[in-house]
C-alpha cells in the first residue's frame, strides 16, 4: 500500500514541473507586457519603462527568470499582483474559500439529487421514471452552463423575485471574514437575517454549477447499479428472501458506489472549469472571477500563480481519489 502511494507521488513530480513550465511559458508568450499595460493610453517614457521592467525582473534571460520563478514557488512566494500589489498567494487564499463554498454546495446538490435519481432509474429500468431521469441528465450533460445560469436568474430572480442576482450576501450585512466561508461567517456574526441572505445568494450559483456533475453522477450511478444488480450475489441474497429494499441498500449500493465515488472525485476539474463561468455570471468573488480578471488585465503573476495553484489542487485531489480507489480495489493497487 505504501509503495502504491509512493509510486503515485513520484508520478506527480514531473506533472508538477510541467505545470510550472506551462504557467511560466504561457504568460511570457502573451503579446503585450504588463509595463505597457500599466502605462495605458498615454504611453510611458523609455527610462521609466526600463526601470519598471527591471523592477519586475522582466529584462533577464528567460531561463534565469524560470529558475527564479521555481525557486520562489518552492518558497511559497508566487509574486505580487500587478494590479492590486497584493501577494498572489494571499489573494488566492482569500478568494479560494468562496470557490470552495460554491463548489462544495454544487457537488452536494449534484450528489443529493443525482445519486437517488440514478438508483431509481436503475431499479425502474425502462419505465417512465428511467426515461425521465436519463432524458434530464442527458440535457444537463449537454447544457451550456452560462446559459443555464442566466435562465435560472431570469426565472427565479427576475420573474419570481425569490433569490438575489449576484454576490455572496446582501450589502447591508457587514460580516467579518473569519473563515472565508460566508455561511459560517454569517452564522457566527449573529446578525439576524445574515445567514438567510447568504443561503439565498448561494442557491442559484450552486444549482447552475452542480447541474453537469449531477447529470454525470446520475448516469454513472444508474449504469453501475444495473451492473451490480445483475451479479450473482445479488440474486443469491434476493433468493434468500431479503426485502428488495435491503438488497438494494445493504448489498448492491455498497458495490455500485465504488465507481460513482471515483467519478465524484474526478468532478473537481469540471467544477473549477464551471466555476469560471458561474462566478462570472453571478459576480461571485472567487478564483474563477479573479483568474478571468487576471487574463484580461494581463496580470502575469496572478495568471501564473492561479494556473499553478488550480493545477496543484486538481493534481492533489486526483491523487487522493486514486489512492482511495486503490484502497477499495486491490486490483488497481497491484496492477
Amino acid at each position: 500500500m505504501l509503495a502504491f502511494v509512493a509510486r503515485r507521488l513520484a508520478l506527480i513530480i514531473p506533472t508538477f514541473v510541467g505545470v510550472t513550465l506551462i504557467a511560466f511559458a504561457l504568460i511570457r508568450l502573451i503579446p503585450g507586457d504588463p509595463v505597457e499595460n500599466l502605462s495605458g493610453e498615454r504611453g510611458m517614457d523609455p527610462a521609466r519603462r526600463e526601470r519598471l521592467l527591471h523592477e519586475f525582473g522582466l529584462d533577464r534571460p528567460l531561463p534565469v527568470q524560470y529558475a527564479e520563478y521555481v525557486g520562489q514557488v518552492l518558497r511559497g512566494d508566487l509574486g505580487t499582483s500587478l494590479t492590486t500589489h497584493e501577494p498572489v498567494l494571499q489573494e488566492f487564499l482569500t478568494l479560494f474559500p468562496a470557490t470552495v463554498e460554491l463548489a462544495f454546495f454544487a457537488l452536494l446538490f449534484a450528489v443529493v439529487v443525482g445519486l437517488p435519481a440514478g438508483i431509481v432509474a436503475a431499479l425502474k429500468r425502462n419505465t417512465v421514471a428511467d426515461y425521465a431521469v436519463m432524458g434530464v441528465s442527458l440535457a444537463g450533460y449537454s447544457m451550456p452552463i452560462f446559459w443555464w445560469a442566466l435562465l435560472l436568474i431570469l426565472f427565479f430572480s427576475v420573474h419570481l423575485g425569490w433569490t438575489p442576482v449576484s454576490g455572496r450576501i446582501a450589502v447591508q450585512f457587514d460580516v467579518p471574514a473569519v473563515t472565508g466561508f460566508m455561511l459560517v461567517d454569517a452564522l457566527r456574526s449573529g446578525e439576524p437575517g445574515a445567514f438567510r441572505s447568504a443561503v439565498s445568494h448561494l442557491i442559484l450559483p450552486a444549482i447552475a454549477l452542480g447541474t453537469i456533475p449531477l447529470a454525470v453522477i446520475a448516469r454513472m450511478t444508474r449504469s453501475s447499479m444495473l451492473e451490480v444488480l445483475r451479479e450473482d450475489y445479488v440474486r443469491t441474497v434476493r433468493a434468500k428472501g431479503l426485502s428488495r429494499w435491503r438488497v438494494v441498500v445493504v448489498h448492491a449500493l455498497r458495490n455500485a458506489l465504488i465507481p460513482v465515488i471515483t467519478v465524484i472525485g474526478l468532478q473537481v476539474g469540471l467544477l473549477l472549469s464551471g466555476a469560471i463561468l458561474t462566478e462570472t455570471i453571478f459576480s461571485w468573488p472567487g478564483i474563477g472571477n479573479w483568474l478571468i480578471h487576471g487574463v484580461q488585465s494581463r496580470d502575469y503573476p496572478v495568471v501564473q500563480g492561479g494556473i499553478l495553484l488550480v493545477a496543484t489542487i486538481v493534481i492533489a485531489v486526483n491523487l487522493v481519489v486514486d489512492t482511495l480507489y486503490g484502497v477499495v480495489n486491490p486490483r488497481i493497487r497491484h496492477g
Partner: protein
C-alpha cells in the same frame, strides 16, 4: 458424385451489422437525425435564412418573436438590439459551430493519434515524455487551459479552435496509446511484421484501423465538447468577435437586454443545447453500436 454447391445465404456486411445495432437505440437515431439536419442547415444557410445575418433593420430593434405581442412574421424569432434577425443569425451560427467542431476535432484527433501511436508503439522514454505531457494538460481544468491558450494567441474564432484542439488532445493520445498497447501483441501484428511490414505500415495500416472504434466515439463526443467550449469562450469575449453570428458571443452581446428582451438570450442558448445534445446522443449510440462491451 459431389453435392451441387448451394449458394451461401448472404452474410450481413459490417455496415449492415453496425446499422442494425445503431438504430436499436431511439436516442441514437434522433441524434443522427438532428446532426444531419444541422449539417444541411449549415450547408444551405444562405438559402434557408430569411435575412442576411448582419443586416440591421434599425426600425425593428428588439422585436419580440412572432408569437409574442408585438412580434411580426417577418422576424420569426425576433430581432436583437441592433435589429438583426435572430433566426438568420442562428442559422448562420450553425456553420460556425460545426466548423469549430470539425476543425478542432480534426486537429486534436490527427495529432493525438500520431502521438498515441508513437507512445504505444515505441514505449520507453518516448512514451514517458508523451504521457507526462498529457498528464500536465489534464491537470488544468479544460476551460482554464483554453482561456490560457487564447490569452496567448489573442481572442478570435481561429485561436479558440486551436485552444480547444489542445484541450481535447490528451484524450485522443491516451485512447490511442491504450488501444495500440492492447493490439501490438496480437498475432496479426506479429504476422504482418514477419511478412516484412515496416514500422509505419505496422502502425498506420495494421494497428490503427483496429483501434478506430473508441476513437470514432471519442471524436463524436469531442464535437460536443468543442461546441460547448467555443460557446463559453465566445461568451467570455475570448472566442468569435462581434459581429460574427457565433452563438456564445451572440448571447454575451445581448446580455444587458436580458430582462427587457429575454429572447435575445434564450434562443442562442437553446441552439447550443440542441446541437450539443445531438452529438452526445449520436456519440452514445455509436459507443453502444461499435463497442458492445461498453453497452449499459
Amino acid at each position: 458424385m459431389a453435392e451441387p454447391l448451394t449458394p451461401e445465404p448472404p452474410q450481413p456486411g459490417g455496415f449492415a451489422t453496425f446499422w442494425r445495432a445503431y438504430t436499436q437505440s431511439r436516442g441514437a437515431v434522433i441524434g443522427l437525425g438532428l446532426v444531419v439536419a444541422l449539417v444541411l442547415l449549415a450547408i444551405f444557410a444562405a438559402v434557408v435564412s430569411p435575412h442576411p445575418p448582419n443586416e440591421q433593420y434599425r426600425d425593428f430593434t428588439l422585436t419580440p418573436p412572432a408569437w409574442d405581442a408585438g412580434g411580426s412574421a417577418r422576424f420569426l424569432l425576433g430581432t436583437d438590439p441592433v435589429g438583426r434577425d435572430i433566426l438568420s443569425r442562428l442559422i448562420h451560427g450553425t456553420r460556425l459551430s460545426l466548423l469549430i467542431g470539425v476543425i478542432s476535432v480534426a486537429i486534436s484527433l490527427g495529432l493525438g493519434v500520431v502521438l498515441g501511436l508513437v507512445a504505444g508503439y515505441f514505449r520507453g522514454l518516448t512514451e514517458t515524455i508523451v504521457m507526462r505531457a498529457t498528464d500536465v494538460l489534464l491537470a488544468l481544468p479544460s476551460l482554464l487551459l483554453a482561456i490560457a491558450v487564447v490569452a496567448i494567441l489573442g481572442p478570435g474564432l481561429a485561436n479558440a479552435m486551436y485552444a480547444i484542439a489542445i484541450v481535447l488532445l490528451p484524450h485522443y493520445v491516451r485512447l490511442t496509446r491504450a488501444a495500440v498497447i492492447a493490439e501490438a501483441g496480437r498475432e496479426y501484428v506479429t504476422s504482418s511484421r514477419i511478412a516484412g511490414a515496416g514500422t509505419l505500415r505496422l502502425m498506420f495500416d495494421a494497428i490503427l484501423p483496429n483501434c478506430a472504434a473508441p476513437l470514432i466515439v471519442q471524436a463524436t463526443l469531442g464535437f460536443s465538447n468543442a461546441i460547448l467550449d467555443a460557446a463559453a469562450l465566445g461568451f467570455l469575449g475570448l472566442g468569435a468577435q462581434p459581429p460574427t453570428p457565433e452563438w456564445g458571443s451572440m448571447l454575451a452581446s445581448a446580455l444587458e437586454f436580458i430582462q427587457r428582451a429575454p429572447w435575445v438570450v434564450t434562443f442562442p442558448g437553446l441552439a447550443i443545447l440542441v446541437t450539443v445534445l445531438a452529438f452526445n446522443l449520436m456519440g452514445d449510440g455509436l459507443r453502444d453500436a461499435l463497442d458492445p462491451r461498453l453497452k449499459r
